[in-house]
Symmetry: none
């Protein structure tokens, strides 16, 4: 069944290109034709691989959720001090900055469209948060659960900054902010 493998593989390939488009325009503002053009396929092909627009969105969200930021923490190298590990985590976070920004925009869209969803689907993002929290907590055993949340809140805050045009041209500013976090946490 090589065909099926190909089919799925191609679907994922298309999906991965969707994040950028959805994040840039927003779910509501993008049309299927536009999306098809960006992916360099026809609308017909899009409907061959996905049930409908909502379906693309949902699959994208799920895909992102499975990859999850947390997985990356798991692969992070060990380090002695809290400060060093915070450095490593933030360094990795900053590297994939854009990806997470786009993800946040997708979460917002998902949240705003959640009125048509079941309760289970609405709590979907809560699960994302929880898993991220857990993996982070494992990596930082010396931090309390609340302090782990604090780090996550800070990261979300940083991601939101691109709205204000920060962080796009000013990598310095972002680095500076993370240093403040590390200082405050490591020295407390």
């Amino acid at each position: 069944m090589p065909k099926i493998v190909d089919h799925n593989h191609y679907r994922q390939e298309l999906l991965s290109k969707c994040l950028t488009v959805f994040a840039k325009q927003g779910y509501g503002a993008i049309t299927m034709r536009q999306l098809a053009q960006e992916l360099e396929v026809s609308t017909g092909t899009l409907y061959h691989y996905f049930p409908n627009k909502e379906g693309i969105f949902t699959q994208l969200v799920q895909e992102l959720c499975e990859q999850g930021i947390a997985n990356f923490f798991a692969q992070a190298p060990a380090a002695e001090t809290l400060g060093e590990r915070l450095q490593l985590v933030m360094a990795f976070f900053l590297e994939s900055y854009q990806f997470y920004q786009q993800q946040i925009l997708l979460w917002v869209d998902f949240h705003q469209h959640s009125q048509h969803r079941t309760v289970g689907e609405q709590q979907f993002l809560r699960g994302v948060w929880q898993r991220t929290h857990d993996q982070l907590a494992t990596y930082f055993p010396e931090l309390s659960s609340s302090h782990v949340d604090f780090v996550l809140v800070f990261m979300d805050g940083l991601l939101l900054q691109f709205l204000y045009d920060h962080g796009k041209q000013e990598q310095d500013w972002v680095v500076q902010q993370t240093e403040i976090l590390i200082d405050l946490l490591a020295c407390s």
Copy 2:
């Protein structure tokens, strides 16, 4: 004699009700008919007071910008220690929590629609940030500019928590997080 209506006043009244609707559904997802229903007027009336959908959005953004979070800081009472003042600010912030969450959602919408905007309009949000920063800096003379930014980043991060369904039923969690911030800053 025509029906006597304070055109401008009524427009603002309508506008204020729009924030909730825009934040809940998102600019793209709301239809003019829906919006009219929520405001309990006809679509015709909506177009009597606003030029078009985009116009409602723009005026709402401008209105919010003029009110500005910053103004509230300015009215905040004086207090001796940094810790006390942080308490006051955060207390006020938590009171108007929902309002700012809605505002954040509006900023996201504004950002996603900014591709069609002029450069001047695109830097609009940067101005919002700057003004908030300045007023906060005045209120906290002992904090460096970067640390003021850090506080703002944290607040933005907190506001984003509605995505993960935090803070709705869990006021405690939010309070706890602000306490961590105050502890870290005041004791550093």
Copy 3:
């Protein structure tokens, strides 16, 4: 009952200003608000004097029909030769050129909207033609009925020329054409 006289008088006054507006824009393209502005009254006032948009149009058509081009022929001075009388008629016609052009445009609109009309109303313009024919025939006893029609066809043809931008700046051209008509008819 002076009020009623005033009412009627004012209605006619408004009506007379309508021809220009309807002819310039066309019935379908003009809005009640625009029409009100051109007449320098409010839309409410318009509805005080007329039942609705269609009513204004209908009354205008009827008004014009009663005035009729024919009436003017009746007042035309007597003259010996056919040539002289043709001269007089055409001279009068050319003087009121614009008025008849606007009237033609109104007839076209009336014709295009006639699908919603009764058969009686549809033949309304036929009556206009007939009456004009009759009066012209009386004024030109030496012309056969067909030749009177020929003159009317020519006049309609002239009125249509403003479409091609003739006759607006080129009075000469129009005069020249009428001279050809007179020559052909008088010398035959």
Copy 4:
């Protein structure tokens, strides 16, 4: 493989059906839904082949202009006497009578919408007139330029008769009028 359709050819086919509809109702009075129904397609299809309502109108006008009444004159067979050639032209004209009546209605619409047009577009109709004049003049070398215009004025006048309900049931009347023209011109 997509559905194979000669896009351009099908567009022209649709366009040709539009003339009747536009002429019958007038540009302003026809709705896109109605138009689509008359052409037996969906509104979506209409927008697949034309940019918008105005675009259909413009393309129709241009299409008609290119076909032009003049082309037909060019194909007209030679004949010795002026009278014979007038007979041929008028016979051809009477055959396509309805088509030209519809065209006239379109010109009226075009004229009324010309307020929003550039100067170049406004002189468009003048060009139509000029070309018709030139071809007619070539076919009738013995007629002066003014007399050619006179024939055109007469033809336009005849076309307008649908307003007065002439010519629909009374082909005779139209034929009689053309005979008068021929007589007057040929014998002068």
